[in-house]
């Protein structure tokens, strides 16, 4: 995910794990949780606890807890902040910079564990740090050290932790026993930019700067299928992909204003493959694609209308009107 240079434009989208009407939109300095059924939103201004007031904490990434009542935010000042959504109070504030003074790198991805007791943060130095919250005590532990900048991390429902880096390696290990590596999925020829497990946790999709999307069996690291690059003329890097519960995979490429939707299925010979379902054309460059639990697809673009949603009806994704999102999500009054 690339961070938008404009301060008042949406940069990332997170869908709620259980509630269909809620959508979390991350801007540069704040987060808004939109309630699509009641047409209002709750705002979290990302505070910073650093002494230097000139530094505003620009948001890098965020995630919901599995129960949907907490949000963890990572900003570029190496802070991890956890908010409780119901009353918008700051639940926990953790400075993981204090522990990594020698590595002045900030976090890249954050996620909660299934039991909501651990928060995993992947940072640019190659570490995945586990913050374990037991009652009031917080213990931290480095789970993974890949020695290379981590580009994406995904914790599956089957408790597999997949980490990919800019060397092109995908390391799948158990969680919380991350010292036990399940497999290395090797085959990409450029940095791997995005990962997505299927809903069962038994298959892994990865997109890379070499333009391909590959399907892996995470238990043995075997490459099962490789999607051809978008075009043979130019190399288009895959910037985001996500797998839905209905086994659809949506892929977006850097610089292109189209999102490709594929279906994960079996060929007549029993081989696993991705079949092209549709191409969704947008007005501008697609930055991110996310599915919610009911397989509604949300696409984030660089230019207005920014966020468009597509509902899955009769085998196709058709655009659903989202005027509320189009108008209210654009902030013009932030400096």
């Amino acid at each position: 995910m690339t961070v938008s240079p404009q301060k008042n434009l949406p940069q990332f989208l997170i869908t709620h794990p259980t509630d269909l009407s809620k959508l979390l939109v991350g801007y540069s300095c704040l987060l808004r949780e939109f309630n699509l059924s009641s047409f209002n939103y709750k705002e979290i201004v990302a505070q910073t606890f650093k002494q230097d007031k000139r530094n505003f904490g620009l948001l890098v990434c965020a995630c919901y807890s599995n129960s949907g009542d907490q949000v963890a935010i990572v900003n570029n000042l190496k802070e991890l902040l956890v908010y409780s959504i119901s009353n918008m109070d700051l639940v926990l504030n953790l400075f993981f910079a204090l522990l990594f003074r020698v590595l002045p790198r900030s976090g890249v991805k954050v996620c909660f564990s299934k039991d909501n007791k651990s928060i995993l943060v992947a940072d640019k130095a190659g570490h995945v740090i586990n913050y374990c919250i037991e009652k009031t005590e917080i213990t931290q532990k480095i789970l993974v050290d890949t020695l290379s900048t981590i580009t994406d991390m995904y914790l599956s429902v089957s408790n597999y932790l997949a980490v990919c880096d800019r060397e092109g390696r995908i390391r799948v290990s158990f969680f919380p026993n991350a010292y036990h590596i399940l497999s290395y999925c090797i085959g990409h020829e450029g940095a791997v930019t995005c990962l997505s497990f299927t809903s069962s946790g038994l298959r892994l999709f990865s997109g890379s700067n070499d333009g391909t999307v590959k399907l892996w069996d995470p238990t043995n690291g075997k490459e099962l299928f490789s999607l051809e690059p978008f075009s043979t003329v130019h190399k288009h890097k895959v910037c985001d992909l996500q797998c839905s519960a209905s086994q659809h995979v949506c892929v977006c490429y850097e610089g292109l204003s189209v999102a490709e939707v594929y279906k994960y299925s079996l060929t007549t010979e029993g081989l696993e493959t991705l079949l092209h379902v549709q191409s969704i054309n947008t007005n501008s460059e697609v930055l991110q694609t996310v599915f919610d639990v009911e397989n509604t697809l949300y696409i984030l673009e660089r230019c207005p209308p920014y966020i468009t949603s597509y509902q899955f009806l009769e085998g196709f994704f058709s655009e659903s009107s989202s005027e509320y999102l189009a108008t209210d999500c654009y902030l013009s009054d932030l400096q």
Binding site: I142, L147, R169, H180, G187
Partner: protein, 273 residues
């Protein structure tokens, strides 16, 4: 072909393992063309041997890995001592090539000149021993073991992995360059087969303590006591064959040999949970 001379291949001892060196590596282990390294055992990728005997050979995989092999001492050396009367107690096995002739051993070295020397040495040794066909089972690849091991080896492929006299990296800020670290150990455990062995030897006491500490703390490794090390042919090799050990012997003298070296053997035992 004459053996290369070390004085033309000197290089600085330290090399940053985290930097982006211009290294060549295959896109995945199955796409590695091993015929460049072991021509007698592998054909070019995709081709098959015609006869029965040789096609059995292509099922072999590299089983011993010498990480940071330096000038290739452990893999194989030329015999330096001229003996007129054969003596039963002198062991003339010269490195992994001779002690384990059926096993493919691969050395990994990051420094370009050193890897080049070792490569030329192996080619010269092969040329000189064409009649006996020795030294065909050892090779060296210039690779970064900290980052690119998954591109060369598959899960559980290795039976033995050697870390002989690794760079101690004394400064705290350089500890992350040490080849034995808790997270790299998870990697080595992945490439070692269950029951595989990890050997370390060093002459630096502080590094020895560090290695023992991290290996003992790692849940997937189990220590083998020093008593059971006596009589192991590999231990003999480690202490006598590699270039560093020969240097330490020259500088330290024979009577200090027992004190200087710390040999530890760790058995990789898979913990089932």
């Amino acid at each position: 072909m004459s053996l290369p001379q070390k004085r033309f291949f000197r290089q600085r001892a330290h090399s940053n393992p985290l930097a982006d060196h211009s290294l060549e590596f295959p896109s995945c282990p199955s796409k590695m063309d091993w015929s460049e390294h072991f021509p007698l055992f592998f054909t070019k990728l995709g081709e098959r041997f015609n006869d029965e005997e040789n096609s059995m050979k292509t099922k072999k995989k590299v089983e011993f890995a010498d990480v940071g092999c330096g000038y290739g001492g452990l893999l194989g050396s030329f015999c330096e001592v001229q003996v007129t009367v054969p003596r039963a107690d002198i062991n003339f096995k010269v490195g992994l090539a001779d002690t384990f002739p059926e096993v493919l051993s691969l050395g990994l070295e990051l420094r370009a000149k050193v890897a080049d020397y070792a490569h030329k040495k192996i080619l010269a040794l092969r040329e000189q021993n064409k009649s006996t066909g020795k030294y065909q089972n050892i090779s060296i690849v210039r690779a970064n073991a900290m980052k690119y091991l998954p591109y060369f080896f598959e899960k559980g492929q290795l039976k033995k992995i050697f870390f002989l006299f690794p760079d101690p990296h004394f400064k705290k800020s350089k500890h992350k360059w040490r080849i034995i670290s808790p997270h790299l150990l998870s990697d080595y455990a992945y490439f070692l087969a269950v029951g595989g062995l990890l050997y370390t030897v060093t002459d630096v006491a502080e590094l020895y303590e560090w290695e023992i500490k991290h290996l003992s703390e790692h849940p997937l490794f189990m220590r083998i006591s020093n008593e059971s090390l006596k009589g192991d042919a590999t231990v003999d090799l480690i202490l006598n064959s590699s270039e560093e050990s020969k240097k330490v012997t020259r500088q330290g003298g024979d009577n200090k040999m027992g004190e200087i070296y710390y040999v530890s053997l760790f058995l990789f035992a898979l913990v089932v949970f």
